[in-house]
């Protein structure tokens, strides 16, 4: 394996890990606070991507500056997270928080199936592609290898901002303290005046927006096809489980491990590309059943 290939694989891996991290941290944040494993999280990813591309195509066709496709990525993600995530939490999840976990998973799985088909109804099955944001930022040279700045700088920088921002928000703001309190003990939190229902609502929207943002940011790097949501939910679950469910910093480490593992496989043993994330997950879980950073029986964020 040549040095160039390693640099390429690392660039691929870091870019991919950044996207997977955004989705997985949303999944793990929702699980940490609400205790719900949201299968429909993959749909938020896919719909975020499709919405961002549609918005981008609309903007460029209407003759606006292609730079506007950048804010469109974020607006699309927030729109999907707030509207779809908000509706899902208010209309469905709120009724099932005190029910068994199996039922919660089945309900979110049903929503996933419905949204997957809604997506086919709206966008059909032909691939969609929008590369403006990728081209606008141009390429940079890394150890003699030319790679897109979007993937080597923009995506990792955003992932780091999200990680640090979330950490800061939870540990150093009043709203973050309320989320931590509700996570640890919902009833005791209510007894000191915290509106747990509102905390759940806001947390779910934030988590859903992160998934949609992952999708929107992935859109310029890949072509959108049916099934992308399913692939991502399984992968981000692998990341969250490897890290330990509810572990935010852990999700970043696990995403990097799985992203790099996957991209190295692409160059070294392409037939294992799809398998590598799950081999890593199984390897970790055999030795640490609660994940790399998880503590047994303790729900934490």
């Amino acid at each position: 394996m040549s040095f160039d290939t390693i640099v390429l694989a690392v660039c691929d891996g870091v870019a991919y890990a950044s996207l997977v991290f955004l989705v997985a941290v949303g999944l793990t944040f929702i699980f940490g606070v609400l205790g719900v494993l949201n299968i429909a999280h993959g749909s938020f990813y896919a719909l975020g991507a499709y919405t961002a591309v549609s918005a981008g195509i609309f903007l460029t066709k209407a003759g606006f500056s292609p730079w506007l496709t950048f804010p469109a990525l974020f607006v699309a993600a927030i729109f999907i997270g707030a509207v779809l995530g908000g509706l899902m939490e208010k209309l469905l999840l709120q009724r099932i928080y005190d029910k068994e976990q199996v039922l919660q998973i089945l309900v979110t799985f049903a929503i996933f199936m419905i949204l997957e088909n809604v997506q086919r109804l709206i966008w059909g099955v032909q691939p969609y592609f929008m590369s403006e944001p990728l081209q606008l930022l141009g390429n940079i040279s890394l150890f003699g290898i030319s790679y897109t700045a979007y993937q080597t700088l923009f995506l990792p920088a955003l992932a780091v901002i999200v990680l640090l921002g979330l950490r800061y928000f939870l540990r150093h703001t009043a709203a973050g303290a309320q989320i931590l309190a509700v996570t640890e003990d919902r009833e005791a939190a209510s007894a000191i005046g915290i509106d747990a229902q509102k905390v759940y609502f806001v947390t779910f929207i934030a988590g859903a927006t992160l998934a949609a943002l992952g999708g929107a940011l992935a859109a310029p790097t890949t072509s959108l096809m049916p099934g992308m949501g399913a692939e991502m939910i399984v992968l981000s679950f692998a990341v969250a489980a490897t890290a330990g469910l509810g572990q935010i910093e852990g999700a970043a480490v696990a995403a990097l491990m799985i992203g790099l593992g996957r991209s190295l496989a692409v160059y070294l043993a392409p037939e294992f590309e799809v398998l590598v994330p799950y081999i890593l997950m199984v390897g970790v879980l055999i030795f640490r059943p609660s994940g790399l950073f998880g503590a047994p029986q303790l729900r934490k964020i």
Partner: protein, 225 residues
């Protein structure tokens, strides 16, 4: 001030409270006594809004049916649950201050209430900076009382505060309750306990609950305070 009128609660098909009625006057201290499983904790949790109940609870003229659980502390009700339930990710003082922060009290008002808590529970001041997860069970009960007192301007509900306390700590807790009665005579108290004799010294009334029903409601004679 607090009126429970034919309050009933069931968990599934099992009735836990059956037509519980009593009224509490301003500043009244009540020992709420009964065996394990008699319905003491459920009564307190129902006042706080954590169960679905039949009947009617009125507090300072508000029908609590229309007041969500998280808004009840804002009416001046503090609650220290049985198993203390501190937030282990925060320090001791942070636990005590969190209710004030949530209620968006002014800095001056927060300080006034914190000073009152430290006056009643001076030992909390020494452990203010310690992580709440590191304090002993007995100390945790003191912290839980302090946290409840931050919002308790009218009524405080203490669920089995003496259970599992070492005698030394139990004495200190009892002293703190006496200081609380002296500092704030208009604050009403409900303290649950399985031992009917323990609370005689600072509760002027004992209500006994058996199998979800009020069995006895008597004034304690010869109260020192």
């Amino acid at each position: 001030m607090l009126i429970l009128d034919q309050v009933s609660v069931s968990f599934g098909t099992v009735p836990v409270l059956r037509g519980v009625s009593f009224a509490l006057k301003e500043g009244e201290a009540v020992a709420f006594v009964g065996r394990n499983g008699a319905g003491k904790t459920t009564t307190l949790r129902t006042i706080m809004g954590f169960t679905r109940n039949g009947g009617r609870i009125t507090f300072d003229g508000h029908d609590l049916a229309g007041v969500a659980a998280h808004l009840r502390p804002g009416l001046g009700i503090g609650y220290a649950p049985e198993d203390r339930r501190l937030f282990s990710r925060f320090g001791v003082e942070e636990n005590i201050l969190l209710p004030a922060q949530v209620a968006k009290l002014s800095a001056a008002e927060t300080k006034r209430r914190l000073d009152r808590v430290y006056h009643i529970l001076p030992e909390l001041k020494e452990m203010a900076k310690r992580p709440a997860g590191s304090v002993s069970g007995g100390q945790g009960k003191m912290v839980a009382l302090g946290r409840a007192l931050m919002l308790a301007t009218r009524l405080v509900l203490l669920d089995e505060p003496f259970q599992g306390l070492a005698p030394v700590l139990a004495n200190r807790y009892a002293e703190a309750l006496r200081r609380l009665r002296d500092t704030d005579p208009s604050l009403a108290l409900i303290i649950t306990e399985s031992n009917p004799h323990l609370l005689r010294s600072f509760a002027e009334r004992t209500i006994t609950i058996e199998r979800g029903e009020i069995a006895q409601d008597v004034r304690n004679e010869g109260l020192a305070a």
